[in-house]
């Protein structure tokens, strides 16, 4: 048994070494991005650039706001993200409706919702643009937000979670004269904290990263999001790698911080979705 344990220990060490090498490969792009964002562009393009900046500079980050309109992009991104939380609330409402009521058409409507997951974005892209164009919503923030406001996957996860809440609780509240909406906001929402945490983080990440609709709908720079702005930056300052890396760092680092802070909930989300 002793030699068995020793072999086990040795295996763990070998696996650990492989994982560390893989991990270094995985984080190298991030590290390189961050270090480069503190270098001057002259240093990056010179032959003598090393791993660490010779002289740490914040000028690239200042340039993001002075040469480019990153302040505007940041504001738009935050507005879009805030609206996505409204969308999450609509997903939660729909999930609750399907989880806790029996009504005519329930199953067929739910299957229809699930079926929308199969539709590739490329098919809906052009028609949605035409619809928004007819509604006069192209080049508006509303046009950017509306198409992705609700989603089948979110509704599905909310329904799964909310079906586990006991019916007696809701019956008792109804006997006490509570309205249906009151029950939803005062009983269901507080009980759904775990799924709300998961969905909230995913909603934030998706809103922060949103690229496709802002790209299609926003013709005017005043509606650009950070992603679209960064793509513009790459076009305008193609040879200023330091500025590009500052822009990328500005987008990536907040998400990594949020991820590391809330990782427990994100990883739990994989168990909530029942994918075992």
């Amino acid at each position: 048994m002793n030699s068995y344990k020793k072999a086990q220990k040795r295996n763990k060490v070998i696996v650990g070494v492989i994982l560390i090498i893989g991990g270094i490969i995985a984080v190298t792009p991030f590290i390189w991005m961050m270090l480069s964002s503190f270098k001057t562009n002259a240093e990056i393009v010179s032959m003598e650039s090393g791993l660490l900046p010779k002289e740490w500079t914040f000028q690239n980050f200042i340039d993001l706001f002075e040469k480019m309109n990153f302040g505007v992009y940041l504001k738009n991104t935050l507005i879009i993200t805030a609206f996505s939380f409204g969308g999450m609330f609509l997903n939660a409402m729909a999930g609750y409706g399907f989880a806790k009521y029996r009504f005519k058409g329930r199953n067929s409507l739910f299957i229809m919702i699930l079926a929308t997951m199969m539709i590739p974005g490329q098919v809906t892209m052009i028609p949605v643009y035409l619809i928004l164009n007819n509604l006069g919503l192209t080049n508006t923030l509303a046009g950017i937000v509306l198409p992705g406001l609700v989603g089948a996957y979110g509704i599905f996860l909310f329904r799964q979670f909310m079906s586990t809440i006991s019916d007696e609780l809701l019956e008792a509240a109804r006997l006490d004269g509570a309205s249906e909406f009151y029950i939803f906001t005062r009983i269901i929402i507080p009980l759904s904290k775990p799924i709300l945490a998961v969905q909230g983080i995913l909603t934030f990440i998706a809103g922060w990263n949103s690229f496709m609709w802002p790209l299609i709908i926003a013709n005017d720079e005043k509606y650009y999001t950070l992603s679209v702005g960064l793509q513009l930056l790459q076009g305008q300052y193609g040879n200023n790698y330091a500025l590009q890396m500052a822009g990328a760092t500005f987008m990536v680092v907040p998400i990594i911080i949020i991820f590391l802070t809330f990782q427990k909930y994100i990883l739990q989300g994989f168990n909530v979705s029942g994918l075992k």
Binding site: S46, Y241, M251, Q263, F270, L275
Partner: protein
């Protein structure tokens, strides 16, 4: 349930249903309709200039050399990319599942982190890493250290596709690794203990216990990854714009270009429906294979 208000459920579901109807269901019918017309920017301003042209869009697109090139590239992405994603993410999951200490849960975060980062930011960073100039691009600097000549990562038509696949692998393995990890943790440890007592090697344990027990997750990951690669868009869009010589143009990029840069809405809609049909056929085909597999086991 009988005391619940009859209208209440409709109140809760209608906002989501209406939005999905308008932005997911209705668009399919619109796409189908406009794919039989020559709708372009001119037609958008004046609907009387839109003509029905039957299946001309479909005929033209299937004869369009760039569409055929894009379809070939997309097949290349799927054939090379999907097996690599499945093998690497499963391999990482198995390695991480070896231990349960702090180190192993930390490594899980490390490998997952590329998945959540912004694709545009990541593409900008990788374009920089792939820079062929040895003073600028990190990858060629590393190759130079070990004495290998610089590679034209994104500029050589033969290499550019692989360069995009490497980036997509880096970004795509994390989430699938988590799916495999959840599945691995669901395998009863008694199976391995029994195999260990019978003297089964680690390789045989992997072959006869782990892989069969993970059949459903492997199926799930393969299907979602194939669908994802069929829609490959942002990486070529930001990094190569489909070049050099359309060697990295994917079907999605082709559709975007025709739809929003050339404003050939009808033409692009026809192409998108072809992609949709392909996705449905592949999914059904795999689903059937999976069901058949299950029957054989009974």
């Amino acid at each position: 349930m009988k005391s619940a208000n009859k209208k209440a459920p409709y109140f809760f579901i209608s906002p989501a249903i209406i939005l999905l109807l308008v932005f997911s269901i209705l668009p399919i019918f619109i796409a189908l309709f406009i794919s039989f017309t020559d709708l372009s920017l001119a037609g958008l301003a004046d609907w009387s200039r839109v003509n029905f042209i039957g299946i001309d869009n479909y005929k033209n697109i299937l004869a369009d050399p760039i569409f055929i090139k894009a379809a070939g590239n997309t097949i290349y992405y799927v054939v090379i990319g999907v097996p690599l994603v499945v093998i690497i993410s499963l391999g990482l999951a198995i390695l991480i599942n070896v231990g349960d200490g702090r180190f192993f849960s930390f490594m899980r975060l490390v490998f997952y982190s590329p998945s959540i980062t912004n694709i545009v930011a990541v593409s900008v960073v990788w374009t920089f890493l792939y820079n062929p100039n040895i003073a600028i691009g990190l990858f060629n600097q590393i190759l130079d250290l070990v004495g290998i000549a610089p590679v034209s990562w994104l500029l050589d038509p033969a290499v550019a596709k692989l360069s995009l696949i490497i980036l997509a692998l880096w970004r795509g393995t994390g989430i699938n690794m988590l799916i495999f990890l959840a599945a691995l943790q669901g395998i009863p440890p008694e199976y391995y203990e029994a195999a260990e007592l019978d003297g089964a090697s680690k390789w045989n344990q992997l072959r006869y216990i782990t892989v069969p027990m993970l059949k459903f997750s492997i199926f799930f990951v393969s299907v979602t990854t194939i669908i994802g690669w069929l829609q490959f868009f942002e990486e070529p869009f930001v990094m190569t714009e489909g070049g050099p010589l359309n060697s990295t143009t994917s079907i999605s990029l082709f559709l975007y270009r025709n739809g929003f840069q050339l404003n050939e809405f009808g033409y692009a809609a026809a192409g998108s429906l072809i992609l949709f049909v392909v996705i449905i056929i592949i999914t059904l085909f795999q689903l059937r294979g999976q069901l058949k597999n299950n029957e054989n086991e009974m």
